[in-house]
């Protein structure tokens, strides 16, 4: 499956980031040809600037988050960028913890992150510090809660079987 392999020696790139930013680079992985680096939130903007200006990662693909309720810190925030000239990709990750998850915004580096970070705020409730226009984008402005968090239940209707007693259950409680 050579489609997924990268054109650049990825180890060298991770090495350069590590040499330059030291503890800012927490870990890196290469799974199925996808290179990921986990960065310390404080070093995020600096590394992003370096990746864009010196490594040629000019194109932001998306930004999103993953909710791991059992982990501490709880959220992994993900940006993926591509170098159109070198045909390489790198996934930048950082973490954000409860109760008020927030990470630096990368809109100053890649303007295309604007809507993606708004969407991540909208669906996960993660604040992006320095974002110019952080408000809901997919959900209505008046919406409460953050739908893509794991504790936000999408299908909450339990099925009551005939051997289960219904007494004491309010109709609303059945519906969940």
């Amino acid at each position: 499956m050579n489609r997924w392999s990268s054109a650049l020696p990825d180890d060298a790139l991770v090495q350069r980031i590590g040499d330059r930013f030291g503890a800012g680079l927490q870990e890196s992985s290469d799974f199925r040809g996808d290179l990921s680096v986990v960065l310390e939130p404080g070093a995020l903007v600096e590394v992003a600037n370096y990746l864009k200006s010196e490594e040629g990662f000019d194109y932001l693909l998306y930004a999103t988050a993953v909710d791991w309720p059992a982990r501490e810190p709880r959220f992994t925030v993900v940006w993926e960028v591509r170098s159109l000239a070198n045909k390489t990709r790198i996934r930048i990750k950082t973490t954000a913890g409860m109760p008020d998850p927030h990470v630096p915004s990368l809109t100053s580096v890649w303007p295309a992150a604007d809507w993606h970070e708004r969407e991540t705020w909208d669906l996960f409730g993660i604040t992006f510090d320095g974002h110019p226009d952080l408000r809901r984008i997919l959900m209505p402005q008046s919406w409460e809660g953050f739908p893509l968090r794991k504790d936000y239940v999408s299908f909450g209707e339990p099925v009551i079987f005939s051997d289960q007693k219904l007494e004491g259950l309010e109709p609303d409680a059945i519906r969940g």
């Binding site: 159109l84 303007p111 295309a112």
Partner: protein
């Protein structure tokens, strides 16, 4: 500001009262929004000073729903996002799963996927031609475009039983082999379409009104386009030669001889030219796929991910067990995260899949090309006339189902 004695006022442009900007709602049900989109325009007379696209009217929570369904069940969600190019979404979704679990797709299945994807590209661009023309006053073009698009939908129906929501892919291949006589029907489509495109182009390409409405309107430079994150024909019209099929070939696209049309001016007219040229290239790919269609299986023989053939069920206990396991709980993926991407008619469609080792995606993030292209609208419409906003929105070719998910 109310002036009581107008006759006393000095006359001249420097003394004219400042105009106030008017806020105008375009949509959510404007015919040119192709879905449900509300754009708040700030107008200075006829000139647009600012725009804010209000999306989310078609948000259905597909990303959340993916988390509750097995990988095979998720296929039917994927084509309901971009409902004008469902086969391409099907392939994009399963290629993320295939990348995660590392399964090989047989050559025949890859060729069938290419055929279905290129048919979808032609159908989607045809629909775009028709509706964008309709927005700009080319009423007759709509009927021609719809007629030609129907030919592609007929082929969808003959293959998958459904005209739009094909759901024809399976992890490791496709669900069915091509039915008898289908390739002949496809050949008739390939033969008839170039003439139909010529007809269409004779109506538009050298039409002075079409030129006046589109040329020099909504210009975006290559650097701005990259900064704004647009892909697909919009990016290529600005002169950036980036097409996933060429840059990162998938499904055997490296074996087909085709060109990626690239524009120079980055205006609405170039985006129109890109799409027409792409349809012709798609027909080239289709012809090559028909001529060189490999024989052999259309789905992987790996029984851990693909159902055993019906005929084996009465003979083999193993097959029955595999069938039961696959239908009742599906298959599991390893822990990890992958990003797989394909070229949709609107640009790069990507799926970022996070797996925690169960039989369902832990997180499925879709990178919809419409969402990314629509982000550029704010920049494109500043300083243009209101009527040009229609042309620009049309030229971006966003599908709100894809954008909002």
């Amino acid at each position: 500001m109310v002036k009581t004695d107008i006759a006393q006022e000095p006359i001249g442009p420097e003394h004219e009262p400042e105009t106030e900007w008017m806020e105008l709602n375009m949509g959510p049900h404007h015919p040119s929004t192709h879905g449900v989109l509300r754009v708040r325009l700030k107008l200075d007379g006829e000139i647009v000073r600012d725009a804010d696209a209000d999306i989310g009217y078609l948000h259905t929570g597909f990303e959340k729903s993916f988390e509750d369904k097995t990988y095979t069940q998720g296929i039917t969600f994927s084509d309901r996002m971009d409902y004008l190019a469902p086969p391409i979404n099907n392939v994009g979704f399963v290629s993320a799963v295939e990348k995660l679990i590392g399964v090989e797709v047989p050559p025949r299945a890859q060729a069938i996927r290419v055929i279905m994807m290129e048919l979808a590209r032609v159908a989607s661009h045809e629909l775009w031609l028709g509706t964008t023309g309709l927005d700009l006053g080319v009423y007759s073009g709509f009927f021609y475009a719809w007629r030609d698009r129907d030919l592609a939908l007929d082929l969808n129906e003959a293959y998958s039983g459904v005209r739009m929501m094909t759901s024809f892919t399976r992890v490791g291949g496709v669900a069915w082999d091509l039915p008898d006589g289908w390739l002949d029907q496809l050949q008739r489509f390939i033969d008839v379409m170039p003439g139909r495109l010529d007809d269409f182009e004779s109506m538009l390409t050298d039409n002075p009104i079409w030129h006046q409405r589109l040329e020099g309107v909504g210009v975006i430079s290559a650097a701005e386009a990259i900064d704004a994150g647009v892909t697909g024909p919009v990016l290529r019209a600005s002169g950036v030669n980036y097409d996933v099929r060429k840059a990162f070939p998938y499904c055997g696209y490296e074996n087909y001889d085709f060109e990626v049309p690239v524009g120079t001016n980055g205006d609405c007219y170039d985006r129109y030219r890109m799409r027409v040229a792409e349809m012709r290239q798609s027909l080239r790919i289709l012809q090559q796929a028909v001529d060189n269609l490999p024989s052999g299986p259309w789905i992987t023989g790996d029984r851990k991910v693909a159902l055993p053939p019906r005929s084996e069920l009465s003979k083999s206990m193993e097959a029955v067990i595999h069938q039961f396991r696959l239908v009742s709980e599906g298959f599991k993926g390893p822990v990890g995260d992958v990003y797989a991407f394909v070229e949709s008619p609107r640009g790069e469609l990507g799926f970022y899949l996070v797996s925690d080792g169960t039989n369902k995606p832990y997180r499925m993030k879709v990178r919809p090309p419409s969402f990314c292209n629509l982000q550029a609208l704010k920049k494109l419409v500043q300083g243009v006339l209101v009527a040009d906003v229609i042309a620009i929105m049309g030229s971006l070719d966003f599908i709100l189902g894809d954008c909002d998910r």
